[in-house]
Structure formats: structure tokens, C-alpha cells
């Protein structure tokens, strides 16, 4: 683990006093209320919280998909807040990868074409050695010529993971990656994500509401009512579940 410790010196993504407010006047809703948080390089962080806690919003803001009302977001040494469309596009190309709950593969492209899509959009060639590693890790070499419709859900999500990994982004954001999978396929995908952190130093931020999934992470950040309320290092499914139970009674937590 000493190798990864050195990299932790700098955060891969950082939110400083981030507020996100929707609407105005009476209809005003604050999804995020002054969130400050760091996501260390080379670690697997899970964001958890009950529905409406703002966990997805936090991820969208971190990834530059959504703008923040106040505060700032950084990815690596890039300040995301205030970037224009061109800057954000470049950020997504070079520094950010995504894994979605719905897989979101293009139905008309083969698995291989889907994996290489971000690189071909950016007009780059894959690093052949890294490409081989990725393909072998996801175990899809014999499925590369298949269309998404010919793959199982787990296989599709592994293709999506490979797509996120192949461009070696600064950080991968995963939005409920196991939400649409059965538990066995989900475990496969989570193992694979954890390995890519442990073995290849990839940084992953995952939003989930499943304690078992969160247990695969190195660290879990808990959100409730738009604020960070708790944190666990080296979590297990049980410790996560316990913390969640406490959050389900927000009156106690927030002292309202």
C-alpha cells in the first residue's frame, strides 16, 4: 500500500463549500448546502445517502455535468467551476470517465467500438498495452465483436467500465453501477472496479444506496439533506448499514 500513499498527497477531486440551489423564491430547494470534501487519488470512494440527500447532485457537480450555485469544484489541478463548454468538453475527454446505471452503450456499435468510443471521439489512438490490460481485466476478449443486445447485463456494464478505463482518466464517476444488475454480476463489476483502483491506481467515485456495494470502497462519505454527515474508512457492509440506519432518522442527526 505504500505506493498509493505517495499519491494521496493530492486530491483527484475536491469540492469546496459547494451549494446547489434549484428554483427561486418559495419553490427554492437546496440540494447541496455547503459541501466540502476531498477524494484522494488512487482510492475508491463511495457516496451514500438516502433518496433526496443530494448524492447524485454532488457527483454531477463534481463531474462538471451540473453547475454549482456557490463554492468551487476541482478535478486534479483544473478548476471546474466557471469552465465554458469547450473547457468542460476537454475535461470530460482527458480527466473524467463515467459509468452509468443504465450502461448507456450505443446499440449500433460493437463492444470494442463502444470501448474505444471516447478515444475515437477525441481522435486518439489507444495505448495498446493498456488496452490489452483493460480487456483482459474485464474478461471480454471473446465478446469484443458483439453488439450490446447480444451481451448480458453484467457483460454490458463491464464494457461500460472498460470504456471508462481505457482513456485513463483522472477520476471515474460511477452512478449506481450495480443498480440494474443481479447480485452476482454486481459483485463481478464491483470487484473489477476495486481491482482497477488497487492494481492500477485508478481513482473512482461511486454513488450508491446499496451498503454491500459501498463495502467494496476504501471510504464511504454519507450525505443527508445536502450536507456531509458522516464518513467511514475501510467500511464493511454492516458498518455502512448501521450508519445508514442512523441517517434514516434525520431529526436526531441534525438536531432539529
Amino acid at each position: 500500500m505504500t505506493a498509493t500513499v505517495g499519491r494521496q498527497a493530492q486530491a483527484a477531486a475536491r469540492a469546496s463549500d459547494v451549494w446547489k440551489v434549484y428554483g427561486s423564491g418559495e419553490a427554492q430547494v437546496s440540494a447541496l448546502r455547503g459541501v466540502t470534501c476531498e477524494f484522494e487519488r488512487g482510492r475508491f470512494t463511495a457516496i451514500m445517502g438516502p433518496s433526496g440527500s443530494g448524492k447524485s447532485t454532488l457527483m454531477h457537480c463534481l463531474a462538471g455535468l451540473d453547475s454549482v450555485t456557490q463554492g468551487s469544484v476541482m478535478i486534479g489541478d483544473t478548476t471546474v467551476t466557471g469552465l465554458g463548454d469547450a473547457g468542460l468538453t476537454k475535461l470530460r475527454r482527458d480527466k473524467v470517465g463515467f459509468i452509468f446505471q443504465q450502461f448507456n452503450l450505443l446499440p449500433t456499435l460493437t463492444a470494442q467500438e463502444n470501448i474505444l468510443l471516447p478515444l475515437s471521439i477525441a481522435g486518439r489512438k489507444p495505448d495498446p498495452a493498456w488496452y490489452d490490460i483493460v480487456i483482459d481485466t474485464v474478461g471480454l476478449r471473446d465478446r469484443l465483436g458483439h453488439r450490446p443486445a447480444q451481451l448480458s447485463g453484467g457483460q454490458q456494464q463491464r464494457v461500460a467500465c472498460a470504456r471508462a478505463l481505457v482513456s485513463r482518466p483522472e477520476v471515474i464517476f460511477a452512478d449506481e453501477p450495480t443498480g440494474n444488475l443481479d447480485s452476482r454480476s454486481g459483485a463481478e463489476v464491483l470487484n473489477f472496479l476495486r481491482n482497477s483502483v488497487r492494481e492500477h491506481g485508478q481513482t473512482i467515485v461511486m454513488v450508491t444506496h446499496d451498503p454491500t456495494a459501498a463495502a467494496y470502497a476504501d471510504r464511504v462519505v454519507f450525505l443527508a439533506d445536502g450536507q456531509i454527515v458522516s464518513e467511514l474508512i475501510e467500511p464493511t457492509a454492516d458498518t455502512v448499514l448501521d450508519t445508514m440506519k442512523k441517517l434514516d432518522t434525520p431529526a436526531e442527526v441534525n438536531g432539529r
Binding site: L65, D66, D85, F100, L106, T108, S120, I121, A122
Partner: protein, 850 residues
């Protein structure tokens, strides 16, 4: 990226076909027009090259009045036979032949009617012997003055044969009888040159009948001796005959004649291109809509592209690339279809013109360039807006269903109002006649802007109107659902309806204009023409039918006939300016039949040296009573007339009236219309048969009562209207495709919803009814818009034509009703396929559909 775009395109072939079809049809028109004109152009090149093949140099007298190919044949200008001898004496001339060849020799066929021509001349000629081209198929050359030979084509058209005794109408004499002693054809088995009808007489007869003067010719064809070039011979001959003659090489003549025809053809070309423009305008709406829906359906896919790093420009590029692919493929098919259509039209034209031998169908570069540039540009332009929309999809849409809020219609409505205003302003400017030479372009621009502006306003209009239309169907649940569906995406409904609007608006507008013109002319004619019987024929070619002037005197002698007037007309040069002039056999008719009033001088009498002007023409020409005016007619020398009267008439009266003596020098020295006024108390039915008998030898014309005559005269407008409607129907067909397309895509988009409805108990038939109601509401809405916009445009034009005498605005209510009814049917038809598709949706699959 390119690969991803093309793959997604190929995966949706149906979408490709539907959006491409509109482009195919538009491109077909464009390339068809070019193929047609190219083919006919080369056909005419060949025809004229043939016609002048045996001619090295041709000598003709300078024409009195220059006439273009569109206006008909040049009136032959005779010159003395001595000129032929003069030409023959020029060194280098191997052979010089005096030729009589003039238009207006009409054979009366076996059915007693004159063989009609739809364009090519009907030549009366002198027999100059056979040649390499001209061969006698049967019989012998004309030896006696009552013998003729005719070409095989004419014999076939008139159903006459060798030895038949036939009547022939010539411009200068009444009908005469001849015996057909020979039938000739041309080399290569052709029975005519370019569909011309030819009657060949002995030289003296031809001179008498066609030129009116013995011992004259109207051209000399010259063959050069060996070693003499055509050009040097031409110059030598020109020097010998002196001024007053036009000397040209055969090659020059054939190129010039073909050139004249090509100019006429380019007019044809422009008309076809105009319809292509309409088809493409409608196609643009269709493509715009298709691409918009596709972009909406692929939101998630496009958002994903954005999330994995595609830039805005790449998104635009991807949609535009798809458009280019569709445009290219559609252009290829459109070009192929256009070649077919061009060939078909050329064939139809060839048949109509009397059996032209068509040149091979070729594909000119203009057709290819036109097809691809139009196809590509239109598709890409139409796809730009959806492309922009695609580029604005936020990447976050890949993760969640971003509820696209109902965008307010303010911006689109404001811009629609602005564009409509610009259109209206352009129309006003163009129609007011202050636009100078660009009037037509400005009017067309105004129409285009109006269409686009109204299309932009349509989303706003659609809400109340669609709700109202839909209310008709609201009694049943499927009807109600269909109505709500057609109102839920006002933009989409609007564009689909707007595409239909364009075609229907144009048909309605043209109908309003032509009906109003017809109505106004009829009303005017009924008001002003005080003649119970009219002698006239229907004109098929450039030459109007005419009749023997002797009929006029005989008709005047019929008891109960008060006044008979024969009208002659010609294009003349009056004080150096080309002007339509008329002559009346009885000038009293001007007042007593046509209701003109004298504003100066005397118009009831006209001496042989006097002429009359209408007040408008007098004003524009700056003449008044007593002014001396020089008039050059088609024949004879220029003469000077003194203005003896000025009259105020209607739009139907002639601008300039010459004395009847002048009619001898008209291109057609026979009356083309005759008006018979009866004494009070005389029954029309008593006189009509008597006049009819007088016309036995003038089979081109007949006598009819005034109403029938007016109907016959305005009848040509009906033909025009039908033709325009047929061509515009294509625009409507494209719009119908648009409705099918929109519905099909909407059904696809709502798979899950339809599945849900089916799951909770909507029957198949009900599902189909729901889709059908949606289609009917959209198409009736489009037709309603079209009828309203078309009536508005038509009314504007009619108003602008007020000073041309179109006073009555006639709205074709019946036809508008038919349009709306048809639109409802069209809606039902358009809904068939999408409705079947919706009804077949697998309930379980649809609900699971992601």
C-alpha cells in the same frame, strides 16, 4: 465518431428512406427538367441540321417584322424571281433554287376538319424535286395546278391517301380542292422533319396561294461548287444581291433556329424548376421534422457522447454527417428518377408535337450538378436546426431523464410574426408594381417568406385550432387521447401541418387567381360584347384559326342580322415600337358591339389612310387626333396613317385599330373572330344554322352563341389550372409522406405509453383509432392553414391585378371544402401504417422497453 454516426444511420433504414423520399422527389424534378431540355435541345439540333442539310447558303428577303420562335413562324417576305438568276450568276454557285415555303397551309382531313398542329409549322411549298433527304414514297410530283404532294406524316394525321381529292386552306385564298398525287418522306424512313406538315404545290400555285404574288419566291437555296467554302460563297452572294436580303449559311440557319427553340425550352425548364422548388420547400419541412424527432429520440445516446467527451461541434457534425449521407443517397435516387421522368416527358412532348424523332436520352452535367447540390444543400440546411438542438443536449441527460420543459413559444412566435411581416412587405412591394424588373422575384420571395413565417406561427395557432378540431372526436376515449396527442408537441404538429399547408396554399392561391380572372373576363365579356353569335375556333398551336372573309358579307345578308364584324390581328411596328394592332371589317362594331366611346375625333368611320387609338395607348404613345403614325405590317411596305379618333374601351378592346384594307398585309390576312349582332326580336336559333352553313369551307372555326364563346375562350384557363394542380399535387404527396413519417416516429417514441394503454385495456381497434384521429387532426389543420393562407395570397394577387381588369375576387368555396375533405381522407390514409404498427405493439415488451 463518423463510424458511430454511419452505423446508427444504417441501423435505422426506414428512417433514412422516409426522410430521403422528400429529397428524392425534389431532386427528381430538378434533374428531370435538365434531362428533358437537354434531350429536346439535341432533338431540335438534329431536326434543324436535317432541315438545312442540303443547303450550303440560303438567301431570304429581310423580314418586315421579326418574330421569335415562341410567337410562331416568320411571315414570308416575297422577292422577284430575278433574284434567283442573280444568285445563280455568282461565281462558285453550283445550283440555286427558288423556294416558296410559308406557314399556314392546312389540309382538311378525311373527317372534314383541318389537321391541327400543336407547334410545328404547316408549310405550303413549291415542289423543287427530290433530293438525298426527300424521297417520294408514292406517286409523282405535282404536274398540274390542282395537284399536290404531301409528307407521309400529314397523310397519316389526316387519314388521306394517294388519289384523294382534298381541301386545302391557305392564308391568302379561300379553301381550294386538290388531288394528292404524291406522298413523300425523308431519308431514314422519317415521315416528317420535326413534326412539320408539308403541302407542296406546283411553283405558280405555291406563289399564288402562299405569297400572293406571281413569279416571286421567299428564299433561294444555294449549293456551292466544289472547292468553294460556304462562308466565302455566302459573302459573294450577299454582295451580289445587295441590301434588303439576309444571306446565311445552312449551318448558321440551323444553329439559329435551334437556338430559338432552346430559348423557348429554357422557359419550360424554369417552370419545372419552379415546381421543384415547391417540392423541395415542402421536403425541407419534412426533413427538419424527421431530424428533430430523431434527435429527440436519441437524446440519451447523444448525451452519452457528450459525457464521454464529444464536443458541441462534433455533435453538430454527427447530425450533419447523417444529413449528408441521406442527401447523397437521395440525390442518387432522385437523379435516376429524374432521368426517367425527363425521358418520359420528352417522349410525351415528342408525341404531342407530331412524332418527333427524339435524340438519345442523355444526362447533362447540369442535371448531375443540380441534383447533388440541391439534394445536399436542402438536406443539410434542414438538418442544421436539429443539429444545433442536438449539440445543446446536456451530458447529464445520459444519467437521468431530463424533463425537457415545454419551451415557451414566445421566441418562435415573435420571429414568425417578423418573417411573415417581411413576406407581406415583399408581396406588397412586388404586387404594387414599383419593384421594376425584379417584380416576379420579389413576389416569389414574399411568398416564400410568408410560408416560412406562417410555419413559425403555426405552433401558436395550432393550440386553439387543434383543440377545436379535436373536439369533434372527443366523444370517445381513443378520440380524446388522439386529440391530446396531436396537441402535446405543438412544434412537431405545426411543422407537419405546415408542410401540407404549402402545397394546399399554392393550389388554393392559383385557383383563386385563375377563377377570379376567368370570372372577371366572363363578366366583362358579357357586359361589353353585344353580339348574339360569335364565329371562332380553338387555337392549338401558335397560329390562330381563321376563316374566309367572304363569310362576313354573306352573313350580313342573312335576314335579321343587324351588324357583322370580322376581327383581324397582327403584331406590327407602330412608330418604331412593336404593338398588337387590329382591324375590323366594320369599324362601327367598335361602338355598337364592343361599347367603346369616342373621347376625341370620330370612331364610327375609318378611311383607308386613317387609324384609331385607345385612350391608354394614345396617352403612352403621345398621339392625338391628327398625328401621323408610321405602321409596318408583316407584309408590304411601311405606311403612314393619320389618327382620326381616340376611344375609351374596356380591357377587351384592341389598343390600335387599322382600316380593314390594312388586313391584307397582316401575317394572317383572314379574320380570326367574327361577331354577329342580331336585330331586336330575331331568334338566335334561326340565324345560327344559316351562319353555320356559310362556314362549311372554313372548318377551323364554328359559330356559337356568346356564352358558349366566352366559355370556350376562358376554357384554356381551366387546362392551365388542371396542369398546375397536378404538378402541385406532388408537393401535397410529399407532405402526406411527412405526416406518415411524423406519426411513425411518434408511435415509436411512445412505445412504452402505448403498451401501458394496451395493458390497461385499450383494444387494438381503439389504438388504431387513436392514431388515426391524431393524423386527421394534423392534416385537416394543415389543409385549413393552406386554404386560409392560399386565399390570402390569391386575394392579394387579384387585388394587384385590378388595373388589368380582374375586378371580381372569386373564392372557390367548393374546392376549399373538397380540400378539407381530402385532407381528412389523407389523414386516415397516412395513419394506416403507423396505426397498424401501434396496434401490434407487444404489451409486455413495450412496458419493459427502456
Amino acid at each position: 465518431m463518423i463510424r458511430a454516426t454511419l452505423k446508427s444511420l444504417l441501423a435505422r433504414k426506414l428512417r433514412l428512406i422516409l426522410s430521403g423520399l422528400a429529397v428524392v422527389l425534389g431532386v427528381m424534378f430538378v434533374s428531370g427538367a435538365f434531362v428533358l431540355t437537354d434531350t429536346l435541345g439535341r432533338t431540335f439540333d438534329a431536326i434543324f441540321a436535317d432541315a438545312y442539310e442540303g443547303v450550303d447558303v440560303n438567301v431570304a428577303a429581310k423580314p418586315k417584322i421579326a418574330v421569335s420562335e415562341m410567337e410562331g413562324e416568320q411571315t414570308a417576305a416575297p422577292f422577284p424571281a430575278a433574284t434567283v438568276d442573280k444568285v445563280r450568276a455568282v461565281p462558285g454557285v453550283a445550283e440555286a433554287t427558288g423556294v416558296v415555303a410559308a406557314d399556314g397551309a392546312r389540309l382538311i382531313g378525311s373527317n372534314g376538319k383541318a389537321v391541327a398542329s400543336f407547334g410545328p409549322p404547316q408549310l405550303g411549298e413549291n415542289w423543287t424535286g427530290t433530293s438525298e433527304q426527300l424521297q417520294l414514297n408514292q406517286g409523282h410530283e405535282p404536274r398540274a395546278d390542282d395537284e399536290i404532294v404531301i409528307n407521309q406524316g400529314l397523310a397519316t394525321a389526316g387519314k388521306v391517301k394517294l388519289g384523294d381529292r382534298v381541301g386545302v386552306l391557305t392564308p391568302l385564298e379561300p379553301k381550294q380542292e386538290f388531288t394528292i398525287v404524291g406522298i413523300f418522306g425523308y431519308s431514314g424512313g422519317r415521315d416528317s422533319i420535326g413534326g412539320s406538315n408539308e403541302i407542296m404545290f406546283t411553283t405558280p400555285t405555291a406563289q399564288r396561294l402562299m405569297l400572293g404574288q406571281p413569279n416571286t419566291f421567299n428564299s433561294v437555296t444555294v449549293k456551292a461548287a466544289g472547292g468553294v467554302t460556304d462562308e466565302s460563297l455566302r459573302d459573294a452572294v450577299a454582295g451580289a444581291v445587295g441590301d434588303g436580303y439576309v444571306v446565311k449559311t445552312g449551318e448558321q440557319l440551323s444553329t439559329e433556329a435551334a437556338q430559338g427553340f432552346k430559348e423557348a425550352l429554357s422557359f419550360f425548364n424554369r417552370i419545372l424548376l419552379g415546381f421543384a422548388a415547391v417540392a423541395l420547400l415542402v421536403g425541407t419541412f419534412l426533413i427538419l421534422n424527421t431530424f428533430s424527432i430523431i434527435v429527440a429520440q436519441r437524446t440519451r445516446e447523444l448525451a452519452l457522447m457528450r459525457a464521454v467527451g464529444a464536443s458541441r461541434r462534433q455533435m453538430i457534425g454527427s447530425v450533419v454527417l447523417e444529413a449528408i449521407a441521406v442527401g447523397l443517397i437521395a440525390s442518387v435516387f432522385g437523379l435516376a428518377a429524374g432521368v426517367g421522368v425527363g425521358a418520359l416527358l420528352a417522349w410525351a412532348f415528342g408525341n404531342l408535337a407530331g412524332g418527333l424523332t427524339l435524340a438519345g436520352i442523355g444526362v447533362p452535367a447540369a442535371a448531375v450538378i443540380g441534383a447533388f447540390s440541391v439534394g445536399l444543400v436542402i438536406t443539410v440546411v434542414a438538418a442544421l436546426l436539429p443539429a444545433l438542438r442536438a449539440s445543446r443536449i446536456p451530458p447529464i441527460a445520459a444519467m437521468q431523464d431530463v424533463a425537457t420543459p415545454d419551451r415557451p413559444l414566445t421566441r418562435i412566435t415573435v420571429s414568425g410574426a417578423l418573417v411573415t411581416a417581411v413576406g407581406a412587405a415583399l408581396l406588397f412591394l412586388g404586387l404594387s408594381g414599383n419593384a421594376g424588373g425584379n417584380g416576379l422575384a420579389i413576389i416569389l420571395g414574399g411568398v416564400l417568406f410568408t410560408f416560412i413565417g406562417v410555419a413559425l406561427l403555426t405552433p401558436l395557432i395550432s393550440r386553439p385550432v387543434v383543440a377545436l378540431l379535436g373536439a369533434i372526436f372527443a366523444w370517445s376515449v381513443p378520440g380524446k387521447l388522439g386529440r391530446l396527442n396531436s396537441g402535446r408537441n405543438p412544434r412537431r404538429t405545426a411543422i407537419t401541418a405546415a408542410a401540407l399547408m404549402v402545397g394546399i396554399a399554392l393550389v388554393t392561391g392559383v385557383t383563386v387567381i385563375l377563377d377570379s380572372a376567368k370570372g372577371s373576363i366572363s363578366a366583362l365579356a358579357k357586359d361589353t360584347i353585344k353580339a348574339e353569335l360569335v364565329i371562332a375556333g380553338s387555337q392549338n398551336g401558335p397560329r390562330p384559326p381563321s376563316f374566309d372573309p367572304a363569310v362576313l358579307d354573306k352573313a350580313a345578308a342573312i335576314p335579321g342580322v343587324q351588324l357583322v364584324d370580322g376581327e383581324y390581328g397582327d403584331m406590327a411596328v407602330v412608330n418604331g415600337e412593336r404593338t398588337w394592332v387590329a382591324a375590323s371589317s366594320d369599324v362601327a362594331a367598335l361602338e355598337r358591339i364592343f361599347g367603346a366611346k369616342a373621347t376625341a375625333g370620330d370612331i364610327s368611320r375609318l378611311g383607308p389612310e386613317q387609324m384609331l387609338f385607345s385612350s391608354d395607348t394614345a396617352k403612352s404613345r403621345g398621339v392625338s387626333v391628327g398625328t401621323r403614325v408610321t405602321v409596318q405590317l408583316s407584309r408590304g411596305e411601311a405606311r403612314t396613317y393619320t389618327v382620326s379618333g381616340i376611344y375609351q374601351g374596356s380591357q377587351l378592346t384592341n389598343p390600335v385599330v387599322l382600316p380593314p384594307q390594312a388586313a391584307r398585309d397582316f401575317a394572317i390576312p383572314q379574320p380570326v373572330q367574327g361577331f354577329v349582332q342580331l336585330a331586336p326580336g330575331t331568334r338566335v336559333t334561326d340565324v345560327q344554322p344559316q351562319v353555320e352553313r356559310l362556314l362549311a369551307d372554313s372548318p377551323e372555326v364554328s359559330v356559337a352563341d356568346r356564352d358558349a364563346f366566352i366559355k370556350q375562350q376562358t376554357g384554356s384557363l381551366d387546362g392551365l389550372l388542371t396542369m398546375i394542380q397536378i404538378l402541385l399535387a406532388l408537393a401535397i404527396v410529399i407532405a402526406v409522406l411527412g405526416i406518415v413519417n411524423t406519426l411513425a416516429l411518434s408511435v415509436l417514441e411512445r412505445t412504452r405509453e402505448l403498451g401501458l394503454l394496451r395493458a390497461i385495456g385499450l383494444r387494438r381497434a381503439q389504438t388504431m383509432r387513436m392514431i388515426t384521429v391524431e393524423a386527421v387532426v394534423i392534416s385537416v389543420f394543415g389543409a385549413l392553414l393552406g386554404v386560409v393562407v392560399g386565399s390570402g395570397l390569391g386575394a392579394a394577387v387579384v387585388r394587384a391585378l385590378k388595373k388589368e381588369g380582374i375586378n371580381d375576387l372569386i373564392l372557390p368555396w367548393g374546392q376549399m371544402g373538397v380540400m378539407l375533405g381530402l385532407a381528412a381522407i389523407v389523414g386516415v390514409v397516412a395513419a394506416v401504417l403507423p396505426a397498424i404498427r401501434a396496434a401490434r405493439i407487444n404489451v409486455l415488451g413495450a412496458i419493459a422497453h427502456e
